[in-house]
Assembly symmetry: C2
Homo-oligomer: 363 residues x 2
């Protein structure tokens, strides 16, 4: 436990300050978990790595990139030695690097499984971005590989650690909304041409796999149930080369065992800020910017109570720091993490069912 | 044409004010359209009748009710002579009352068709509340009866005359949002027990027929298209006697010819304020309280522009006054109204398809 300023001052006053001097103190804290960043794209460089700087539990200790120049620039910024920069060719050599405890897989979706499995084989824990994989079989292999290697596997579901989403879940679990009846959720954006996300081979699908997954996952954590029926439709409106391979728009309805109905939308063809509304017999809640990195705003209107409002904490905590820190803590304390591989697998299974339903409904 | 203040002042300045003095002016205006209110429930007494007081084009001239006491109280308030109060038994006698130009049908849904058709046969124009009827056959008979009688038929779709909804439509038609891709909409509420709305025989269905119809109709006026595919699911969660006959929750997805996907929810088991979000390639719009009598708030976020905000005009115009006035004007000027029987019929047809899909998906 880190001493508070008051404890520290009191200790100094008692002449016992020596026990708190940084060096001695550092010896009693577990070593920061060292992450090897696999893939230097936007999410790594603009989000995960800057955030991890603020984490007391984690640090960047190695990099994997196909671009040595870029990797060296980032290495300089994060104090990573040249010997801890890897290419995809010598990726398996991470096995021999004791400063790497875990990998953070931020590659195109189709590469998640391979690089996660190789990391587990190299004796490293795996934090893999969502979607976990592009097929159910791959997701199962990832789980099995981590189990065989006795390494932990977590999927990058930020919202499982994000306080506003978690407050929404808590209000529901406490019964504040009464019996939940229905949910609306959506998330999408207008994608630029030539992104790897528009190629099925790399992305495994369209907006559903990338951003629709947030709504899907939210409906599951909000209800605490798994959908029994799924009905889905997709469409392409813009024949401009972006959607030769994937859906542009997708809508799906899920029926949960309790009878809760959820309506979801996703798109790569329009502005569609993430949101959900949850409707219960005693009230409703609405989360704006539900899946953003910041600027979330929860409003709950509960019968007979003043509206409950909760914005993202200010200053906004870095969601990625929470994620990296949580997984580090789970590694350090040998605990189960809040978004294990099985959680990711369920979404992959459900997304495959959503795509199957689209095909049936189009056929 | 009513003179503007400027015309009036100019006329006075020219010494020609006499032509505008109220009495003379009144003679040149068409007589106010006289409405016979059929059914003295909440919507008549709390909304339509108070609103019509503010309309320069319409007035209440007769009442039909099964409760003579209540009818006499309302007659006194609205200056309706005792001779213009009817019971359901002598309803057809409205034919002989020259002060009745039109009826306003505000009965349980299952009675809409019969009382509309009898009004047409009595030589009266018909303004009928939504949903127009409980079956497609009835809706067609209503249209045919009004055509045979050469009387006008309008369905009480307030939103077709409501300025904030119409501004949303205009933004879309002007192409400000680019190509529309997807819509979310919902509307519902937690119904009290023992309302006629919970009995299929009187209501024709559940929340879909009553409030879901707003979302359905909105998706049609927002896109200007008719859905080609419909997929729907319904559920009952509360086995408390309210839903022995009707659905509690319903979700449906519509695919429009252009590829637009719309996700809609409705419920009688939870608070579910009416809203829609329309997502286009150049921006989106969000209408809060979309189907309420007041307090609507439109926000459009269009690429490269400041957010466009439009609340309900203040003071809020009475939607029912606009409706009663518009239909009166159509009668006076022999014009087609903005929500004719054919518009109502389309929603009835689509709602029957939604229910059919629910059955197929449950079966």
């Amino acid at each position: 436990m880190k001493p508070t300023r008051r404890q520290f001052n009191r200790a100094l006053a008692l002449g016992a300050g020596a026990q708190f001097i940084p060096n001695l103190y550092a010896q009693t804290e577990p070593r920061k978990t060292g992450y090897c960043i696999v893939g230097l794209g936007r999410i790594s460089m603009q989000h995960f790595m800057p955030a991890i700087k603020t984490s007391p539990k984690a640090q960047v200790t190695a990099l994997v990139s196909g671009h040595r120049d870029k990797a060296e620039r980032m290495a300089a910024e994060y104090g990573v030695p040249a010997s801890s920069i890897y290419s995809y060719d010598d990726y398996d050599a991470i096995a021999g690097n004791p400063n790497i405890d875990a990998v953070y897989i931020a590659l195109p979706n189709s590469m998640h499984a391979e690089y996660s499995i190789r990391a587990a084989k190299a004796g490293k824990h795996v934090l893999c971005e969502k979607p976990m994989s592009t097929t159910v079989a791959e997701a199962r292999e990832m789980i099995a590989a981590c189990q065989r290697a006795k390494k932990k596997l977590m999927i990058g579901y930020r919202c499982h650690l994000e306080p506003v989403n978690q407050r929404a879940v808590q209000l529901i679990r406490e019964g504040r909304l009464g019996k939940i009846q229905a949910i609306e959720s959506a998330f999408g954006f207008n994608i630029k041409p030539n992104e790897w996300r528009t190629q099925r081979k790399m992305a495994g699908g369209g907006p559903l796999m990338d951003v629709g997954i947030y709504s899907l996952n939210a409906c599951r954590y909000l209800t605490g149930e798994e959908p029994v029926e799924i009905d889905a439709h997709s469409s392409v409106i813009d024949h401009d080369g972006r959607f030769t391979d994937i859906e542009e728009n997708i809508s799906w309805t899920m029926t949960f065992p309790s009878g809760v109905l959820a309506s979801c939308n996703s798109t790569y063809g329009a502005s569609m800020p993430g949101f959900y509304r949850v409707h219960g017999s005693q009230g409703m809640l609405h989360l704006e910017n539900a899946f953003n990195y910041e600027g979330l705003l929860l409003r709950a209107d509960i019968n007979g109570a003043e509206p409950f409002m909760m914005p993202s904490p200010s200053p906004d905590p870095a969601h990625f720091a929470a994620e990296a820190g949580h997984f580090a803590e789970c590694i350090q304390q040998d605990k189960q993490n809040k978004a294990p591989g099985e959680e990711g697998l369920r979404d992959i299974e459900l997304m495959m069912r959503i795509y199957d339903s689209c095909k049936r409904n189009a056929g």
